[in-house]
């Protein structure tokens, strides 16, 4: 495939991501291009001709290491700990495959009963920890109960609060009894906090770094580096790398330099201004993995004028998402549709795209009995990358509809403590949640901890129904209706969904890449390989 084909397909892929091109159109136009070139590959997508091979060292330069990092899963909150520890040296009962489906990891199989309230997990046999000890059900019980202690400070606490009790049967069966039915329970067990560690003598878990994972921990210097070496007794025919090294590089420019000078093979979250520089090089490429993270303007519906659904709709129609994506995000982003559920998620519901329309904005203002409104929109540079610029553009978009938006610049430090959920209209950077149920119960149901005042009885009712339902067809219908409610009446204006944007050496190979969590759903160490 020649250079110009590459560029054309890149441009088309760009259009697809931004939503300016439909999937059908994308396929038609790319297949025409591909037919024109014999040895065709789509950049950034999985390359079928690469067969994984074993060996080599993989070095990742990440920005979010901390000197406070440690091996207790309850303290993890970053991709450094998630991919380095959870994905490198530990396993969960289940894992999320790149296509978003859930598969057994340490668990062979599982079975719900009593309307998804009781879950019986059977462990795979013959799994050993790095020290040679065999995995037993008690290890699983202690690992999950670690987060359930009444004084737990674990980041996984919100998940395990659903569990009433855990029992074991012999050495290979674990039975979870939930407080109420939850059909997504296996998904939740893939959360990186819920890694399975060996039980310690006398209760609790042993947090010395002894796991079941694809790699053994060779060395760990908090905030500096983590070194992993292959576990020859791993229960899967993985990993490919002999060694993996995580290197802390907090500064974005230093990270880019490290990649360009060959000190690392992979860097995360590259600045949009550096994309063209990397794409212009023959040694590196930019990888964009659609994810759950979205940038939004959120309204507190207890406060006037946001308590009026028509005012909310007027504000939604007055936002020109294309303009913001093009000018602020330089085309790096997928257009939001006032729905917090990402297209890559199971149960995502496709609705007609809400487009910028002054007429409709005016129409809804009129319905609310208003001609003009004035609102304050609170932003800060860290509310999301480009939040201030996006808000300023939004004010321009909305002005012709009679909507005056005063952009209030807040201090970056303390934004999440003093502005978010405190001011009635503010910019927010949402990381998303792996399941729709989890997302809604964290942010959108009436009793959700981060609910910004929005409450809808039908939505709450559907949420409870869908949670206890194990029939996927019915759940799809419930979740579709819930997403429609949020789209029409909700308190969120989604500006864009952003991709996981990584820069990678061309010597590194990978298959389909998962985006529910960063770094191939945190399992980059065991799924990727070296080509040279």
């Amino acid at each position: 495939m020649n250079e110009s084909h590459h560029h054309q397909i890149d441009a088309l892929a760009h259009g697809l991501r931004r939503g300016t091109l439909s999937r059908r159109e994308f396929l038609l136009r790319t297949s025409a291009l591909l037919a024109a070139s014999a040895a065709a590959t789509i950049p950034g997508a999985a390359r079928a001709e690469d067969t994984p091979k074993k060996g080599g060292l993989f070095r990742l330069g990440l920005h979010n290491a901390s000197q406070n990092d440690n091996l207790d899963p309850g303290t993890w909150s970053t991709s450094w700990t998630g991919a380095g520890f959870n994905g490198g040296i530990f396993n969960n009962l289940v894992e999320i495959l790149p296509d978003g489906s859930v598969a057994g990891d340490l668990a062979e199989s599982w079975e719900p009963s009593e309307a998804a309230k009781v879950w019986r997990f059977i462990l795979k046999s013959g799994i050993t920890f790095h020290d040679g000890r065999g995995l037993v059900a008690e290890d699983v019980r202690q690992s999950i109960e670690h987060h359930m202690k009444p004084d737990s400070t674990s980041g996984g606490r919100a998940i395990v609060e659903q569990i009433a009790s855990i029992a074991t049967e012999g050495d290979d069966v674990v039975i979870f009894t939930l407080k109420e039915g939850n059909a997504d329970f296996p998904y939740l067990l893939s959360d990186y906090h819920l890694s399975i560690l060996p039980a310690a003598e006398g209760g609790g878990i042993d947090v010395s770094g002894n796991g079941t994972g694809a790699f053994k921990l060779e060395s760990f210097e908090p905030g500096i580096a983590t070194k992993l070496v292959r576990n020859p007794n791993y229960h899967k025919p993985l990993p490919y790398f002999d060694e993996v090294e995580f290197i802390s590089i907090p500064d974005a420019t230093a990270r880019l330099n490290a990649l360009l000078t060959g000190e690392v093979d992979f860097i995360q979250d590259i600045d949009i201004r550096n994309v063209s520089m990397i794409e212009g090089s023959s040694d590196f490429h930019v990888q964009r993995v659609p994810g759950l993270r979205h940038f939004s303007f959120d309204m507190d519906t207890r406060v006037a004028p946001f308590d009026n659904p028509d005012v909310r709709l007027a504000l939604k129609y007055a936002l020109d998402r294309d303009d913001i994506i093009e000018k602020v995000f330089l085309g790096e982003g997928r257009k939001g549709n006032d729905n917090p559920v990402s297209q890559i998620q199971k149960f995502s519901h496709e609705m007609p795209q809400r487009e910028y329309s002054i007429e409709k904005a005016k129409e809804h203002l009129a319905k609310a009995g208003l001609e003009t409104i004035t609102v304050d929109l609170h932003v800060a540079e860290n509310a999301f990358a480009g939040a201030i610029e996006a808000a300023v553009l939004y004010a321009e978009h909305a002005a012709p509809a009679g909507i005056t938006i005063n952009v209030v610049r807040e201090a970056a430090d303390g934004y999440w403590e003093n502005v978010w959920l405190k001011k009635p209209f503010a910019a927010v950077d949402w990381f998303g949640r792996a399941t729709v149920d989890w997302l809604f119960s964290t942010i959108y149901t009436s009793d959700a901890p981060w609910n910004a005042g929005w409450s809808n009885a039908r939505f709450d009712e559907l949420h409870a129904l869908a949670r206890a339902e194990t029939d996927d067809a019915k759940r799809t219908a419930y979740y579709a209706e819930m997403q429609q409610i949020v789209h029409d009446e909700g308190n969120i204006l989604t500006v864009a969904f952003v991709d996981w944007r990584n820069a990678i050496s061309n010597n590194i190979g990978y298959g389909e890449v998962g985006g529910l969590m960063p770094l191939d759903n945190m399992r980059i160490c065991e799924r990727w390989w070296r080509k040279d």
Binding site: N68, D151, G155, S219, I224, S248, P250, A254
Partner: protein, 321 residues
């Protein structure tokens, strides 16, 4: 007339006392400033998992729900006994900072061992050949290097030596597992950058100090008696310029301990400056306090040494009128 038995010792003792007082004031200022910052360790660490229950549980365990001055007094009491306490993540503060402080001290020492003799020698050369080509060249180039921000010097050095010529690694991320030679090789670029930054300052001040002494009448007397110019500079002028030179050297050494955070970030060098940034981001107060104390102690300590050297070289300073 009563004469103090050992004037230098008593001067040192009183200065150490004042230094300790300064440290206490610094620690109070830092502690209260961090307490006034929005956000807490719990919300910083839990991020998007910071449900109200988890935050409350963590603040309770860390004692963050007490008023800040009570926490300060508790910290001060322990620190006075030499116990820097535990970081909020549950590791002893000295375990967190220790290896990084060692890295900083190694970087600073190597830089200082090269920089101090070289800069004093260059300063003397400038003073001896004042107005000649070598003086003009060094004055111009040092002025240029002072005027440019240090991160810019770092990027220039990196671009030329790491990216274009590929002589040295762009990252100085040394680790305990590397052997000495490897560590030293990785430290070349940060050392070179620091040299460029502090050499300029010290050369200019050495030159200025010597030249101001050279304007004294006794130097003219020495010249009139026929002493060679080199001997005038080395034997007559230099000993009287030691005080000001020691001051500027002390200032630069303290900078090497506490001020090189920008260089650390650019070259990914795991020094104590990055430890402090990390701690401030997480509101990890015990680590912030320990770093602040180290930095303040470096300034106070080096200045004290410089003053002692000045006094030894010029005993008149002991008896201010």
């Amino acid at each position: 007339m009563t004469r103090k038995p050992r004037p230098i010792l008593s001067m040192v003792a009183s200065r150490v006392g004042l230094g300790v007082l300064s440290l206490v004031i610094v620690s109070l200022v830092i502690f209260s400033a961090v307490a006034m910052l929005p956000g807490s360790y719990a919300s910083a660490i839990l991020g998007q998992n910071a449900t109200p229950e988890a935050v409350a549980a963590m603040e309770e365990q860390l004692g963050l729900n007490e008023p800040w001055f009570l926490r300060y007094l508790g910290w001060l009491g322990a620190a006075a006994m030499g116990d820097m306490g535990m970081s909020f993540a549950g590791r002893p503060v000295m375990d967190v900072i220790g290896p990084r402080l060692l890295n900083t001290v190694v970087l600073a020492s190597i830089t200082a061992v090269i920089a101090v003799p070289v800069s004093i020698a260059l300063g003397i050369v400038c003073a001896r050949f004042r107005g000649r080509f070598i003086d003009k060249f060094l004055s111009t180039s040092t002025l240029a290097s002072i005027s440019v921000p240090e991160f810019f010097v770092a990027y220039i050095v990196m671009m030329v030596l790491a990216v274009k010529l590929q002589l040295f690694p762009s990252m100085a991320g040394i680790r305990a597992s590397m052997d000495w030679g490897d560590q030293l090789y990785r430290m070349v670029l940060p050392i070179l950058t620091l040299l460029l930054v502090i050499l300029a300052h010290m050369v200019r001040n050495t030159r200025a100090a010597i030249l101001s002494v050279m304007a004294s009448p006794y130097i003219e007397m020495a010249r009139l008696k026929g002493e060679p110019e080199a001997r005038v500079v080395m034997r007559q002028a230099l000993p009287n310029a030691i005080g000001p030179i020691a001051s500027v050297v002390a200032l630069n050494l303290a900078y090497l301990i506490s001020g090189v955070v920008v260089i650390e970030v650019v070259f990914v060098y795991p020094g104590v400056g990055q430890a402090m940034i990390d701690a401030v981001r997480n509101r990890d107060v015990p680590v912030i306090q320990a770093c602040a104390l180290i930095f303040a102690a470096a300034y106070i300590g080096f200045n004290l040494i410089a003053d002692v050297i000045s006094i030894i070289s010029n005993p008149r300073l002991l008896h201010p009128r």
